[in-house]
Symmetry: C2
Subunit: 409 residues, 2 copies
């Protein structure tokens, strides 16, 4: 968690780090600045000191919401550096960073680089930094980074935000269930009270409005029916009419309005009735879900959980990405992932990543599925869990796991 | 525009480019793939050939909405590369890129790198690419990049999307104006028909709902009152009550739902009446606006327009970032910027960037302002313009520029 940063820097023999980037959503800047809406700021931290947020004067007021120490680039002399560099922002930035680090008491050492930025700009800036600031060694971690490790475990403040998002997401799913349950049916189609045929797009509109009403942001929710449900990340077709007896994969993973913590939950629904083949697949997926939860153990390697699920599916005759790495059907993804400011964080529950173990403070999904697009269906069931202070695996996704939405009319 | 890509590659002696990145919104991937919601795809293009989108099998269905040629990484052998590299995704990616480029007929040459990604991952991947693929030279452009140049001019399809977003944004602003005009006033506070006091947060909620209802996405809209209006990028405080006689800067820059083209417009409003000092500042800003439009000329350097505005403000006794680079009040930003999939694109209307000229197909803002936070106000007026095929500067922002919202009750 955030309080581990100094220790994690020490382990890496890192004297300082800089988190920078452009206007893109920047998860690490968000993490350090409590989500202040800054688009031009960089955060400097030397080991053992509090971070310093350097922002544009345009954003001073927003930057102060970070709770960090804040200075503007103007007062620290960026514009003079820019003029001296004849408008070359890369050179000016390199010199400005040296100014800021020096003011923080650092005049050389190992500096980690983090954040989100355009690829070409990152590489161009790195070249200029290396050329102009030979006294610094710039570090770019490829894996198990400082921030991946810090964000791997959530602190109490983060967990309470994640719980709040979870409650709201579950309540939105309940509203959608209730709406569908109250629709009129004619043949295989559904109609609202004004007699309008209901489409996937209508449901997605409802989801967006309900999310917004409780301060959450839609993130291209998956509501995929029939063959589309057979592709794990198909979003569903807006103009497709909602139908009875089709597998619908509803994967809801909203985040706090304007960027922030996520929830992540999936249910598979059949409206009115479930065809036997979908019911069978659903039972197999629910068995996989139960096997996952049963195989949990604190400090146990996560890959063992995925392997238990792979064994289960393969024993039932389904292809998996372990039995056939090119398969397009069967069980074709990993079992779970951490969730926080990014929708996909560490740890990973994967048979190919063998270095994660379940730890107190992890917030992660368990989401077994089965996909048969050519047979017109897919099934996935997903809860978000926290490993609480007692070491127990606790679901944050309270919503029922029924397959069939009974029609009330 | 997009049809210039081969010419722009030729000018750079670039044999191919790769657009890659993670789950972050990736403007260039969006640009090339018509906004398909892919989170793990890379786009490969060799000069003179159509681009190839390589995606995860999880996203095949979405990827096909791009209209591009699509292959999955599984069918092209990524997972075998990953297994051979013992799970090291950077090495596997480097070898996989060589496989893909080779299948496209390329076995060496100059390859541009673009997209949006985590800074540390970009640098880590670059190192592995350079080590494993010595037959390629990887290019990272710092400025005036291939895509900045392509996106500098919009094609007819893009302009019609921008016009549609413009119409919807203008209509949302009209709705907000009408809502405020119909409020009840008591002292300096405003109340809705149920007698509830109206806050900035209420207005922002209305904006979000209205945007959503017309398929647009809120992007942390600025609705900043009083002192907050004096900081150009302050978003405004949700719990602050709306008041009469305060300068309110309302900067609305929504984009198409789920990511896409933007509009960008700002109005400054005073509810009921305008204090004389705000009125004076407003008149000075409107003069700057008119001076801007009058100084427009096709193929004319853009910095001349900013300089005309700087001359105007300085003659009136206001500080500017030219007269005092560290000033926190007066005119403290550039005059305008291109708008498209990113909210800030080229060209820039700045006195420090002297290499832009006005061209047919530019879509750009003109947004003079004046900021006096210590006196409790700021003023900005902004339209989005297109330079049409006849070379005329045409506003896409039809909404009225009145300062005062008269209260109807």
């Amino acid at each position: 968690m955030k309080s581990d940063l100094d220790r994690l820097m020490q382990e890496r023999d890192m004297d300082a780090f800089v988190v920078t980037g452009g206007e893109e959503f920047n998860a690490i800047r968000f993490y350090l600045s409590k989500g202040a809406h800054i688009t031009h700021g960089s955060i400097f931290k030397s080991r053992g000191q509090e971070p310093l947020l350097v922002c544009s004067r345009m954003e001073l007021e927003e930057a102060q919401k970070s709770g960090l120490k804040v200075r503007t680039d103007a007062e620290l002399g960026f514009h003079e550096r820019l003029a001296a560099a004849e408008g070359d922002s890369y050179t000016a930035t390199a010199q400005f960073w040296a100014d800021v680090l020096s003011e923080m008491g650092l005049n050389g050492g190992r500096v980690g680089l983090y954040g989100t930025w355009q690829i070409n700009k990152t590489i161009a800036q790195l070249g200029v930094l290396q050329e102009h600031l030979p006294q610094y060694e710039f570090l770019a971690e490829g894996k198990r980074t400082l921030f991946e490790e810090a964000m791997l475990t959530k602190d109490q403040q983060e967990i309470s935000r994640l719980k709040s998002v979870a409650e709201r997401a579950n309540s939105v799913m309940e509203t959608v269930w209730d709406y569908i349950a109250g629709l009129d049916v004619e043949g295989e189609f559904l109609f609202d009270e004004s007699g309008q045929q209901v489409t996937i797009g209508d449901i997605k509109g409802l989801v967006r409005r309900e999310l917004m009403a409780c301060g959450l942001e839609d993130t291209n929710t998956i509501f995929a029916q029939g063959r589309d449900a057979g592709f794990p990340h198909s979003r569903g077709e807006a103009d497709m009419p909602l139908k009875t007896g089709q597998a619908i994969v509803f994967d809801l993973f909203p985040r706090e309005q304007g960027g922030g913590y996520h929830h992540d939950m999936t249910r598979t629904w059949c409206i009115g009735y479930a065809p036997p083949e979908v019911r069978d697949a659903y039972d197999t997926v629910m068995e996989a879900f139960d096997i996952s939860v049963e195989s949990f153990g604190l400090n146990k390697p996560t890959h063992l959980m995925q392997e238990a699920v792979l064994d289960h599916y393969e024993a039932k005759g389904h292809a998996t990405i372990r039995s056939d790495p090119r398969t397009m059907e069967g069980y074709i993804h990993t079992l779970g992932h951490g969730v926080g400011i990014d929708i996909h964080e560490s740890p990973s529950i994967s048979h190919t990543r063998r270095d994660d173990v379940f730890q107190i403070g992890n917030v992660l999904t368990i989401e077994p599925g089965l996909y048969y697009p050519d047979r017109g269906y897919g099934v996935r069931v997903e809860d978000l869990f926290v490993i609480d202070e007692s070491g127990a695996l606790v679901s944050l996704t309270s919503f029922r796991k029924d397959l069939v939405i009974p029609l009330s009319k």
